[in-house]
């Protein structure tokens, strides 16, 4: 329960002033999960914010060390549970980097389409949830309705809505089902108009703007020092997008704009994401147009299951490989690799150290939400009132699954 503890009482000319400690969360709708904020306040004015995290800690990194490389995919799904395809992709790139292989081109396109769809799904949550946190309930209902379309696409492609685990080392699990491309394009058409609806609903809404404009401004310099990345950093005027600057997969072959805004307040962070969804649609459309036919998994029986499943009933060798791969996994040469991708929340890094066995020696996740959330504690932002903390937290868009690992 939310309960205030009085830590200091001062009687002044104007009356009694109380300094209180207030617990916000861990169960509170605006904390987007199980986050506890300890607020030190003088009346309504915030003096100190101290996030207490770890309530959702599952020891993911410890588990990584006892799982084979293929078994790890479902664990990465559960980091940023709004956008599992991005998490899968970052991890797959780290392992592929050490193996020195690359997924076939069609698989790369499918991965990018999935990652961009999941970016839309992740951004849709904050597009609706930040206004809801500051009192505009309606928007969340609309964004959740549209997010359902992405969920349906995920279900059509992978068979599940949330924890897709669709990537494999060396490609993706299977090709897009028949009709998926048409469905994705149809979604793009419908959704483009919907983004304008959100803007009509919120962009000129004076109450919403009053709650988010010029609240929690972070300068570009501070944002870099705080380690902010992704839309949170670009809202502060720093022009850096890993998709453009260190292109992975086929991002070098598609055109898109990097959305940069200058003020670095809660509104800019929100608006950045709304505009990024349009760019995601552009990327998806180009991918569907350019995508070649072909395999979706590398043709290496030691790393991936055979593309032609019929071989399993004819070829003894395929059968043996299939068994060994299922039972033991595959070995990754000793070494280290850091892969960084532009996940919806920011720079998602996987640092993999391999000792040459079937299981990683150490796999560290650089989760963007963990770093982004930290900026709540610093006094570099102009949060003044309790209500501003809610807006600030909502605009940073942390996902607790990723913060707590």
């Amino acid at each position: 329960m939310t309960e205030a503890t009085v830590i200091n009482e001062v009687t002044t000319d104007t009356g009694l002033s109380r300094e209180v400690l207030l617990n916000l969360g861990p169960q509170h709708p605006s904390t987007h999960g199980v986050l506890r904020l300890l607020l030190q306040m003088d009346g309504e004015i915030i003096e100190r914010v101290e996030p207490h995290i770890g309530l959702l800690h599952r020891g993911t990194e410890k588990l990584f060390e006892s799982f084979t490389y293929t078994q790890i995919f479902p664990l990465t799904d559960r980091l940023d549970y709004l956008c599992p395809p991005s998490n899968n992709l970052g991890y797959a790139l780290a392992v592929e980097g050490l193996l020195g292989i690359e997924a076939p081109e069609r698989a790369q396109y499918i991965r990018v389409i999935m990652a961009e769809l999941s970016r839309i799904s992740g951004h849709l949550l904050i597009t609706g949830a930040l206004p809801m946190d500051v009192g505009a309930m309606t928007s969340l209902l609309y964004t959740m309705r549209d997010r359902e379309m992405v969920m349906d696409l995920m279900e059509m492609i992978t068979g599940v809505r949330m924890h897709t685990s669709f990537c494999r080392v060396g490609g993706v699990r299977e090709d897009l089902p028949e009709g998926a491309e048409a469905r994705i394009l149809e979604f793009c058409d419908i959704f483009a108009a919907r983004i304008s609806d959100y803007e009509t609903l919120l962009d000129n809404n004076r109450i919403f703007l009053a709650r988010v404009e010029n609240i929690g401004n972070i300068t570009g310099e501070d944002a870099i020092a705080l380690g902010l990345s992704g839309p949170n950093l670009r809202a502060s005027g720093v022009d850096w997008d890993i998709r453009r600057d260190e292109p992975y997969e086929i991002y070098g072959q598609v055109e898109f704009d990097v959305i940069v805004r200058q003020d670095g307040d809660c509104y800019d962070r929100w608006k950045c994401r709304v505009d990024e969804m349009r760019e995601s649609l552009r990327i998806i459309r180009q991918c569907i147009g350019q995508m070649p036919k072909g395999d979706v998994l590398v043709d290496d029986p030691k790393i991936a299951f055979p593309v032609d499943k019929d071989l399993l009933s004819h070829s003894m060798e395929t059968h043996i490989h299939h068994f060994l791969l299922s039972a033991n996994g595959f070995k990754v040469p000793a070494g280290e690799f850091y892969s960084a991708i532009e996940a919806p929340k920011g720079e998602l890094g996987y640092y993999l150290i391999s000792d040459g066995s079937e299981k990683p020696f150490r796999l560290k996740v650089r989760s963007p939400s963990f770093v982004n959330l930290q900026s709540l504690t610093e006094r570099t932002t102009n949060i003044k009132y309790l209500a501003d903390v809610i807006a600030m937290l909502g605009s940073l868009d942390p996902v607790m699954g990723e913060v707590d690992k």
């Binding site: 990194e61 501070d222 870099i224 020092a225 850096w240 960084a340 707590d404």
Partner: protein
Amino acid sequence: MVAGDMPLAAVLQPYDQRVSLDQGAADMPCLLVPPDDLVALCTQLRDDPSLRFDFLSDICAVDIFPKTPRFMLVYHLFSVTHKWRLRLKCCLDDPAIAPTVIPVWTTANWHEREAYDMYGIHFDGHPDLRRIYMWDGFDGYPMRRDFPLRGYKDDYNPLGVEPVAEGSE
């Protein structure tokens, strides 16, 4: 990113062989730094106009038990200006004590708390070195390689491993 493009030699010169460049890694160049030189080198890497490593991506602690030195801190730096990446490695003996890099990058605060929580690495000069994921009364450092995956048996963890008494092996 190839290390050849990065003007690292000038930065390394004052350290007189104490800092060495390892170009073996496929993804980015790597510097091996002793703990005593860490803060000075980091400050220089951040402020040198030809490098500008102003973004600390990540601090990763590694336990290489039973080898020695047991612990290693891996810093991943990024230069927003030049779009370069660089890795720093710092080996630590047990008990592990490293200097804090918070004065260089504010973001190091929580990363260092995580390394402390999971591996028991102490950071000299850290203003707020507390556990971050585990609760305050938790005993042990879960990510260390000699910490069992299931944890130790207690009232809340009936399936855990029986704790080994001190001295017996």
